[in-house]
Amino acid sequence: MKLFSFFRRRRSAPVARERLQVLLSHERGNGGDSELLAVLRDEILRVISKHLTVEDDKVQVKLERGQAVSLLEIDIEVPGQLDEKIRRRAHPGGPPLLPAPST
């Protein structure tokens, strides 16, 4: 038993590996390839906000680098109004979906 816990205590490398994987997948989105991602984020935000009101900090662009392929992950959080618009689209009687009514 003692030998077992001794053995377990020493296996810290898998912990290091996992912590790094989690951390870096996050950091790569926030500055790893910062310039490209910042431009992408900006342009995406501009396109989206033509049609929807999106807060600046609710658009997340992440890039996960791999040897063969990389994964570009775009996360956009929109407030409840999207549901409303989808509902309206499902009920043609409502006002048109696009362009967004200017207020």
Binding site: L3, F6, F7, R10, R11, S12, A13, P14, A16, R17, R19, L20, Q21, L23, L24, E27, R28, G31, G32, D33, S34, E35, L36, R65, G66, Q67
Partner: protein
Amino acid sequence: MARVLVVTSGKGGVGKTTSAAALGAALAQAGEHVVVVDFDVGLRNLDLVMGAERRVVFDLINVVQGDVKLHQALIRDKRLETLSLLPASQTRDKDALKPDGVAKVVGELREKFDWVICDSPAGIERGATLAMRHADIAVVVTNPEVSSVRDSDRIIGLLDSKTERAERGERIDKHLLLTRYDADRAMRGEMLKVEDVLEILAIPLLAVIPESQDVLRASNLGVPVPLNNPTSAPTRAYLDAARRLRGETVVMTFPSQKRSLISRLLGRKAIA
């Protein structure tokens, strides 16, 4: 055609200068004309590691500013005539490095040498970005340790965005040099394995330099690792790295420290 190679890492103390000197010596031993350039303005150490600290008269800043001609600042190695050193300034600060001046000096070095090895300072400031600026090849020096791996990841991001090649839309060749590796500790799960670091950083492996007393011994004496002990395990790894940089295919060996029969038996018992 000359190749510009940057030895970089982000984190300090992982073996950039040792590796720049060792790779420079290994390439020069193979008959290539090599210059190793110290970009660590204000904290120069390449001269010390290469045993030329008492021969420095002019430095990179003098050349960048046009005070002296390039050949006046170059120091020819006393052991290998194909190896030269361009030291950094110890008294100036890094702001004295100007992008235009650096571009001009690197251009001149390209004409004189087969290999221009740029020894980057730690960090991601001006010295580090200028050291990588003109590189065709990058050697990312990493220790199997969390902070070093994280910083290397950051540096890889900069290599892909801030270098001349990246800005032209070209690829910069990036290689991982894993230093201070202890295969036994990695096997016991106490240290990140080669495969772990490779999987995380996703760049090809140049070589694994084993943790060894020979490395400190060489820097104590001011001799690049391959010249100090031609048969040690770190020397073999650096020589293999240099051969791969020259385009040869060399089978990758993962160095393991020699252990006594008793420690082997004890090691097995602990795992059983």
